[in-house]
Symmetry: C2
Subunit: 394 residues, 2 copies
């Protein structure tokens, strides 16, 4: 390991993560795990770089140190960020990149054969943005002796209970998202161009707050107004805010790749009664849900309490109302493990973290008032402190 | 189509794109194309939203209007952004999202069977971030009668020659990246915290320049200093700039999802001779390459001229020196078609656009001086105008 690299966690913490991962591999009879999810690679090795647009992975075995494998020019980035020995960083030649003639997985297959790993079972993250159908087919073809096993989310599940250091980074992200919302409320007004508002959101989010410097979020800010806010995932353009506009801000603070998402909604002037009714429904239902956010309860318990209360208020929501959060890379700041919805019987444990996301998308606009929380010994704690209501600016 | 949606292109332009795509489908005997690349979906339909973290696609047939298919809550975003009839926007229920029990492709398969599209050949973008191995396996299982054909980059290749409207958006992006580099040079100085510098890069990039408002880039800014700049893809942290530091800035302006990437390098104080030598090598070699950037020449011609000149200067670069650019979504602002490297025999045509990327990553730092260009009738034109040298700030 080069002397001057800055790891975000102690070597002991990385070792503990590896132990947990290997135990999960044992349970699934996996000899070798090919980790492609950039969040999982970072969590296990420290690797951090915008290189996931080309194929890369971490090769995890039971009895040897993990191997970082990726594009040749990115091996230098691995040398700067991972705790692994230099010998365990392997780059492939550039003619494999975005080529019609050869696939990077051909190179990886040869490596696995040389290491005699092609005779056992190999775990693959089948459902991951960065493990393409073509990558799978290349491995199938080139590793005929291997038993390919689906290991989707195997590592993600090891990440759901956060360490104290991880929580500290998420609290830094919380300070950042508080500053972002405070700044939005300060400057928003009729006549403002939305791209200028977005620019200020970015500036605050990246400059951060005090010593809590900002990293890029895994999802770009979404700030749709009016009819555009009937949809959850539109970003911004250069339209001009008008008196009476209602805009929601779905944003996250991010510190060292750890996220604290938090949404608020601002009405420029008094909101219509429908939105005040929706506000009351969302807040009542969120609290009904969060009253169940404690060890021993399940994700489903939280969700059912939320949905039942929401329906009593006469509102319907037909999608999940939250998900696990933590370390992430684009395109998703969720951990892709637990969801707050019926049928998810995962038991809550202290130091789990999730984004409680009771958004309502109505027929003429949207309302988002959300919280990121950490489960404690007896309940939950809000990560960020931003006024919990439909904000009105006159 | 709702009356108040703002399309970025004329209906005639979308129709022409569809025609080109269908012709390419005919050539490959594809009856139905499943387009998952968010850039391709946007190019064909106008769809724009940060929803690609769940499965979505555009179903393209020969004799019927395309169908947007995606997560139920995102159908509202499609209603706001695509030119298609409302009936051609189909959402799937939320219990398919990130579920262990069912895959969204099960839903898509049922739809394709109902439409009798499962009896013919179906084109799939096998090598795409957003087409996972699990998605492919689900389709294989559920569509046993279909002939699944690899259609990777089929749509991307239709995008390489830009329309006048597309070039206009790229020129807007060029105005933005010029403003970004000018602002960086204005404010950079020893003592500056890099996250604060990154915050200003974002602010300038999103606020844009005059009427050219900024969209989020498909790659986040990279601004590594010193040893971190031996690697191409590191982003930033809160380290403090020092006199003598050399930092490269690999950034892009983005307007309506069209990119103009441009990198420059700034030395805080006089750079060592090695970097002056590298500067001369890079600029000479880039011009040698660009002298070949004209219709009738190939990508390989440009690359060979570049690499031969670079080697004469005593420098080596073992990766491609550019790629096609245009409309893009994370994680890559490249179009994933042509690369400027040996072996790429694609002929250059007017209105092709590429990022000429002669970056050198040395043993103690990096140098990036790049250009985004458009091929003209007799040569090329730089999209942005930023001083073409190793910038020094004393």
């Amino acid at each position: 390991m080069p002397k001057d690299i800055k790891l975000n966690f102690s070597l002991a913490e990385y070792a503990a993560r590896l132990d947990k991962t290997r135990a999960a591999m044992t349970q699934k009879n996996i000899d070798c795990l090919i980790v492609v999810d950039p969040s999982n690679i970072a969590w296990l090795s420290g690797y951090d770089g915008w290189s996931f647009y080309t194929h890369q992975c971490l090769i995890v075995q039971h009895a040897a140190e993990p191997i970082w494998w990726g594009r040749g020019i990115d091996a230098a980035g691995a040398q700067r960020t991972v705790y692994l020995d230099s010998d365990n960083i392997i780059g492939y030649p550039d003619h494999y990149v975005q080529s019609d003639e050869r696939h990077p997985m051909d190179h990886l297959s040869r490596l696995l054969r040389e290491m005699k790993l092609d005779q056992g079972s190999i775990g693959l993250e089948m459902e991951n943005y960065y493990f393409t159908a073509a990558a799978f087919r290349a491995l199938q073809t080139r590793l005929p002796a291997a038993k390919l096993v689906d290991a989707t989310a195997l590592v993600n599940w090891q990440r759901i209970v956060k360490s104290e250091q991880e929580l500290e980074y998420m609290r830094s992200a919380a300070r950042i998202v508080e500053a972002m919302h405070a700044h939005i409320y300060d400057i928003i007004e009729p006549g403002m161009v939305k791209s200028d508002l977005a620019a200020e959101i970015f500036r605050t989010g990246i400059a951060g707050k005090d010593e809590h410097w900002g990293d890029y979020p895994a999802i770009m800010p979404m700030l749709p107004t009016g009819m555009d806010a009937t949809a959850p995932h539109l970003t911004w353009d250069n339209s001009v805010l008008q008196a009476g506009d209602i805009t929601f801000f779905e944003i996250a603070g991010c510190h060292k790749r750890y996220h604290c998402p938090l949404s608020r909604t601002i009405s420029l002037g008094p909101p219509p009664q429908k939105y005040l009714d929706a506000e009351k429904a969302v807040l009542d239902a969120m609290h009904a849900g969060l009253d169940n956010a404690k060890p021993g309860k399940t994700c489903e318990d939280v969700a059912i309490a939320f949905f039942e209360c929401l329906e009593k208020h006469g509102f319907k929501k037909d999608n999940r109302t939250g998900y696990s959060i933590g370390l992430s890379y684009p395109p998703d700041w969720g951990e892709r493990t637990i969801s707050l919805r019926r049928g998810d019987k995962t038991e809550l444990r202290p130091n789990m973290t999730f984004h409680f996301m009771p958004a309502l998308w109505l027929d003429d606009g949207g309302l988002e008032i959300t919280e990121s929380v950490v489960v404690t010994e007896n309940g939950y704690e809000r990560l960020a402190s931003v006024e919990q209501r439909l904000l009105v600016k006159n």
